[in-house]
């Protein structure tokens, strides 16, 4: 998807460097964070991190979850205050007491969860808190004009009559960027900006970022997606355990090196190998459909197989598995497991039949965050773990302890609330609860989203082990390397239909998939 981008990148970078040299402000960096230290009760989040950002530069910030990226960003946005260390913007030292101070200093942070008011339009959001008025009344026309001008600068068209909730994720992101430009931010921090974007939208966003860069804005770009970083960044900085471990120009770094620096060990391969003999079909779906979102979808997953369902976001992949799982009512279609016709009307029926769904959004749909990890683990297994309505707590604890060992879940104790775990450990808890249910078919929706590289590898190993045991896995993923690396077979969806099948995933290419996805 981005094979030619590094080259097209080159001129821009030169331009930016040239601009800076002519700019006169010699070697004064746009942003200099020195010796940032921050600890929370029980955790030393940052142990003296330095960060320098120049005008017209994209600095990629990488590191495993828990490496301290978020904390560093929160110090920069004024959300937290450092225990020690200094922040200088344009050579002037500033103490951020609040997010307003950071904003006044020209720092804009765009979080993964956008800060938009869903019911307000794009321009209302952009000027929220700094509305322009005329005679005490809101100057709607003026705001609309300015907003349209901002979007023209970004090279996009956004409908200013729609409330933001009706805009796509990518469009909402552009509204956030426009908002940053509206208060003349000179430093823009983007936290996982492409996590919810399709490949096409990602490419567009990277173009916008290049434009911002040539306009002299400094960008801190946080992402787990190394391909993007290699495509867009000028410099990359690696954090591990709250400290700087590496920093170098992008030309002098490779993908393998980056991963190695992040996890602090050498990863032979991002995707563990497996050798499984495929058996007969286990899950068979025919003619699944509902409205325009899912149309006549048929496929089967064989014993020991990992089938990937991919496509652009909004192609109907998640919708398909939700129908299959009974989470939404289906209008047409039959579902068979091992040749037996299943009656699935609710998730309860699907679970009873031996199907497990690891949802895309763990926090929203996968876990009861306020409950303990043990209680989350037990939730789909309570019928088995109770007798005459009473939960057998001894058995519950024992069994969970077994899975904690098996999956190497890192928790201080079983009563730990699910909210306080890292993404990787949360995913493992969700996985544990379905493994204990002894599901025959497991549906993984974006199994490694928001999970750091080390934990990803462990999840992949577990998936391999499951298919080796004869289970069938249906995996939805937007990360093409993951699709290519893990799947036996690939189905591509577009606008609710299956538009193509790649029988041998090992020999497929990203381009091949994209061809089918946009068809």
């Amino acid at each position: 998807m981005n094979g030619d981008q590094p080259e097209s990148d080159q001129p821009n970078r030169d331009q930016a460097n040239g601009g800076e040299a002519n700019g006169g402000e010699a070697n004064e960096p746009l942003l200099a964070m020195r010796g940032m230290v921050k600890s929370f009760p029980g955790v030393q989040a940052l142990r003296g991190v330095d960060l320098t950002l120049r005008a017209g530069e994209v600095l990629a910030l990488v590191g495993e979850n828990g490496a301290g990226k978020s904390t560093l960003i929160k110090l920069l946005s004024g959300a937290h205050r450092p225990d020690s260390g200094t922040i200088a913007v344009g050579g002037r030292e500033i103490v951020f007491q609040s997010p307003q101070d950071a904003r006044r200093a020209g720092v804009a942070v765009i979080y993964q969860e956008f800060n938009l008011v869903a019911g307000l339009t794009a321009h209302e959001n952009i000027f929220l808190g700094q509305e322009s008025t005329r005679g005490g009344f809101l100057d709607h026309a003026g705001e609309r004009r300015q907003a349209a001008e901002l979007f023209r600068r970004l090279g996009v068209v956004i409908d200013l009559d729609l409330p933001c909730r009706r805009l796509s994720t990518a469009q909402q992101q552009l509204v956030e960027i426009a908002k940053a430009l509206a208060f003349e931010a000179r430093i823009i921090v983007m936290d996982e900006p492409t996590a919810a974007l399709t490949a096409h939208e990602t490419a567009r966003l990277l173009d916008v970022i290049r434009d911002l860069r040539s306009g002299g804005i400094g960008i801190v770009y946080i992402s787990h997606r190394l391909d993007e970083i290699l495509a867009i960044a000028d410099r990359v900085m690696v954090l591990r355990d709250g400290a700087n471990v590496d920093e170098r120009p992008i030309e002098r770094v490779t993908r393998g090196e980056l991963i190695e620096r992040m996890v602090g060990r050498e990863l032979k391969d991002e995707f563990p190998a497996r050798s499984v003999k495929l058996g007969p079909p286990r899950l068979e779906v025919t003619g699944l459909g509902r409205g325009g979102a899912v149309r006549d979808v048929s496929f089967s997953v064989r014993r020991g197989e990992i089938l990937a369902l991919t496509g652009l976001v909004g192609a109907g992949r998640t919708e398909t598995v939700r129908l299959l799982f009974g989470a939404d009512p289906r209008e047409t279609g039959e579902i068979r497991l091992d040749g037996r016709l299943l009656t699935i009307r609710t998730p309860r029926d699907a679970v009873a039949a031996g199907i497990g769904l690891l949802t895309e959004d763990r926090k929203l749909e996968g876990l009861v965050l306020g409950a303990s990890v043990r209680e989350n683990f037990a939730l789909p297994n309570l019928v088995r773990l109770s007798r005459r309505g009473f939960v057998q707590r001894g058995r519950e604890r024992e069994e969970f302890a077994r899975y904690v060992d098996l999956l190497k879940i890192r928790i201080p104790h079983q009563e730990q609330r699910a909210r306080n775990l890292s993404g990787g450990n949360q995913q493992k808890v969700v996985l544990a609860k379905w493994l204990a249910r002894n599901c025959e078919v497991l549906i993984f929706d974006e199994p490694t989203r928001g999970i750091d590289v080390g934990a990803k590898y462990e999840i992949y190993l577990l998936m391999n082990r499951l298919v080796e045991e004869g289970k069938a896995i249906l995996m939805i993923s937007s990360e093409l390397p993951e699709v290519l690396g893990m799947a036996d077979r690939i189905l591509v969806m577009h606008e609710g239909r299956i538009t193509g099948e790649i029988a041998d995933a090992r020999r497929a290419t990203q381009e091949q998939i994209m061809q089918l996805a946009v068809a």
């Binding site: 989470a327 009861v368 939960v391």
Partner: protein, 439 residues
């Protein structure tokens, strides 16, 4: 182990608050107490026996009051059992005592002890016995030892608190379940009235009125409670099937139930109920606790087991914590939520029956605004209105806190209106503490 301890302390933080309140009101009502009744009689008998050994001759002098009579009777029994001789028991005025002393002086002649209350012991009749009745020997006037003790902690007062809170605490069990699922039930106050009116009406019209048998009354109450349960089922169905906000559904049911109660009762109290109906509300068959309070405690025990040990309890928490995650894990969400609303309505119906029994009548004004106190108890007890969090014993603590505050303020002569103001701020404070801790 440590984690559990931390969680326990956090979960039951309201208990510490409650104990603090009790200590405060105890300190404020600490004063001199004179023992009365049978307890005083026992104490006095023991004192006499230890001072005079076997067979003292005693004259008991008390006023003509129920408490005093109890004292005299107990004292007499204890003394006789210990081998003493009770020469006479005077229940009346100083002149009666004088007559008795005269009789004794004229008769056997010797008297060791004159036993009485602090009031009778101070009568002038006994001021100069040596002069007035030289033949009696040297009788000593003995009265119960006075002691210092808080009014608040007297057994009568504590029982009073328990009875006051009984109905609200019973309703709070169901409300806690509903709140844990992330809902709210505003209809419970009106359901008290509906249940009380229905139960009274069924007893009057169907079970034989003043001559109703215990079985007839039980069936009448069961019918009233079941009808409340039906209303709860309707609320639950609206919430689960049609996704109507619980606040709206139960607000509507509050109006409906209140209207029905007035209609059924024709706006009048129904009091054609046998005397024996008060057994549930006023009777005290176990350890001197009112039966309504015993019922409440038993229900809390059962509810605690349900919430902490049973599958259904787990499901209630899961549904409130994250409904979609629970649904996708195969939890029967609809049934679980239905259960909570039905349980709340049934318990409100039961509360109505207890109230009808306490007051021996049914009226449509019963339970007016009780839902507010019930919700206050649940929230003060630590349940989160957002759902997923809350404990039964927390709620019981919350209900007790409210009762203790009201009672303590009554004892210290704080007016009703001020009490409501204080209660309002306590509700706010409880939530505020929670918010600050969660920051």
């Amino acid at each position: 182990m440590k984690a559990r301890l931390v969680r326990f302390v956090y979960d039951y933080r309201m208990i510490f608050m409650l104990l603090l309140l009790c200590a405060l009101f105890s300190a404020m009502t600490y004063q001199e107490q004179s023992p009365t009744g049978a307890a005083a009689g026992r104490q006095l008998a023991a004192a006499i026996s230890s001072d005079f050994g076997d067979a003292p001759s005693v004259l008991i002098v008390v006023r003509d009051l129920a408490d005093d009579a109890a004292l005299a009777e107990q004292l007499r029994l204890d003394l006789v059992a210990a081998g003493g001789r009770v020469l006479a028991v005077v229940q009346g005025e100083p002149k009666d005592a004088r007559a008795a002393l005269g009789n004794i002086a004229a008769g056997s002649g010797k008297l060791d002890v004159i036993a009485g209350t602090q009031t009778t012991g101070a009568w002038l009749v006994f001021a100069d016995l040596k002069t007035d009745y030289p033949t009696l020997g040297e009788p000593r006037v003995m009265t119960p030892q006075s002691y210092y003790w808080p009014d608040f902690l007297k057994a009568d007062n504590l029982l009073n608190i328990a009875s006051q809170i009984g109905v609200i605490a019973i309703l709070a069990i169901g409300m806690t379940m509903v709140v844990i699922t992330g809902g709210i039930d505003l209809s419970v106050g009106s359901l008290i009235a509906l249940s009380a009116v229905l139960a009274a009406k069924f007893i009057r019209d169907a079970a034989g009125g003043m001559d109703a048998s215990p079985l007839g009354m039980a069936l009448a109450c069961l019918a009233a409670i079941s009808l409340c349960g039906l209303i709860g089922a309707f609320s639950g169905a609206m919430v689960t099937r049609f996704d109507v906000p619980p606040f709206i559904v139960t607000l509507a049911m509050m109006l409906v139930a209140s209207g029905l109660a007035r209609r059924v009762s024709k706006e009048q109290s129904i009091y054609e109920i046998p005397e024996s109906f008060v057994w549930l509300g006023r009777g005290a068959d176990w350890f001197g606790l009112p039966n309504g309070v015993v019922l409440m405690l038993v229900l809390y025990g059962l509810a605690h087991v349900l919430m902490s040990r049973m599958r259904l309890g787990r499901y209630l928490y899961a549904v409130g914590g994250n409904r979609e995650a629970a649904r996708l894990s195969g939890v029967p969400v609809t049934r679980v939520v239905m259960f909570a609303y039905i349980a709340s309505a049934v318990l409100a119906g039961l509360g109505g029956v207890v109230m009808a029994s306490q007051l021996k009548s049914g009226s449509a004004n019963y339970g007016d605004t009780y839902e507010l106190y019930v919700i206050t108890a649940v929230v003060v007890g630590g349940a989160a209105l957002g759902g997923g969090e809350g404990k039964m014993f927390g709620t019981l603590t919350g209900a007790l806190t409210i009762a203790v505050m009201q009672n303590g303020m009554n004892l210290t002569n704080i007016h009703d209106d001020t009490q409501d103001i204080v209660l309002g701020f306590v509700l706010l404070g409880a939530v505020l503490i929670d918010k600050i801790q969660h920051r």
